[in-house]
């Protein structure tokens, strides 16, 4: 397995079946990962801030710093390797509530809302996510298999999206459909 490190304000896309995309120390930042199971193309973006219009010169120099510029670039680069939007498995990690350099407490949540907006407008649904909370996360995506691994602040690595309570809006405890 070959590790491709995705740094802060960085993006990597690969079609190498031996490659593993990995990014560390996701606090308020968000990692957006994509994986096309047919052509086995995987991509990972690690962005810091939601909106590039606050600092356009910076957005020009470091496009992956911002969700609104970085996410479309991630998708475009994946398409260039043969990935197709309708097949792509999209996952999110990060967006924790941490005090960043500016003392802004809610940047994680703002990053998350911005990501959801961009994906909704792009017509992409999220397959799995590990967001919020207050700890730092490390994630890795195996390009060959599409498996994704998450390590939280506790240090234990587990496979992403192990059966969870699901998504906001579902009322639980509803009896299953009887299927004869």
């Amino acid at each position: 397995m070959r590790s491709l490190i995705v740094g802060i304000a960085d993006c990597q896309v690969s079609n190498d079946p031996d490659a593993v995309l990995v990014t560390y120390a996701l606090g308020s930042c968000i990692a957006v990962t994509v994986w096309d199971p047919v052509v086995r193309v995987g991509g990972m973006l690690h962005f810091m801030l939601p909106d590039s219009t606050i600092d356009l010169p910076q957005a020009g120099k470091r496009p992956y710093m911002f969700a609104d510029v970085g996410v479309p670039l991630l998708f475009r680069q994946s398409y260039e390797m043969g990935a197709e939007k309708r097949r792509m498995v999209v996952r999110l990690a990060g967006g924790a509530q941490v005090m960043d350099d500016h003392g802004v407490f809610d940047i994680g949540r703002r990053n998350y809302v911005a990501t959801r907006k961009i994906l909704w407008k792009a017509g992409v649904l999220i397959q799995q996510e590990a967001v919020g909370g207050s700890g730092s996360r490390t994630v890795r995506l195996e390009v060959g298999t599409g498996k994704m691994w998450l390590r939280g602040a506790g240090g234990v690595e587990e496979e992403f999206g192990a059966p969870s309570r699901g998504s906001k809006g579902i009322v639980y405890g509803v009896p299953s459909t009887d299927r004869g």
Binding site: V113, A114, R116, K121, G123
Partner: protein, 151 residues
Amino acid sequence: MSDPLETQALSLATRDVLETMFFIEVLSETDEPPQGSPGTLEARLRFAGERSGEFRIWLTAEAARSIATNFLGLDDENAIRDSQVGEVAAELANIICGSALSRLSCDRAFDLSHPEVGPPADDARTWSDAASRTFDLGNGWLTTILRFEHA
């Protein structure tokens, strides 16, 4: 004087709804509604259940348009019809009201009337007993007003 629990429920419901389905961040919130500005929309509905009353939102024009664009998943604010902006404002009122009432009333179900949309009626400014919060959305304002009728 409004009930602090009602005001809190209103605030939490509004923020939650705006973020979840309309992708809007609240920059700050206050008690005081802003002075009217041209093109402001009002959506109003009545509710009944354990308690009955009225709910209204006032939404300034530019904010209404971006909210509608976000909700529908569109990119271009100019491509959206005025009627769609009104429909989305009505649904925003519906969801915020329902969310606030659900937080306040764990027990009895409630019924909501179909929201009506139009220019703001100023009578709500005189309601001293309503829970009211105004939210700065960056490109405009949203005011939410929840008023329970007394038995």
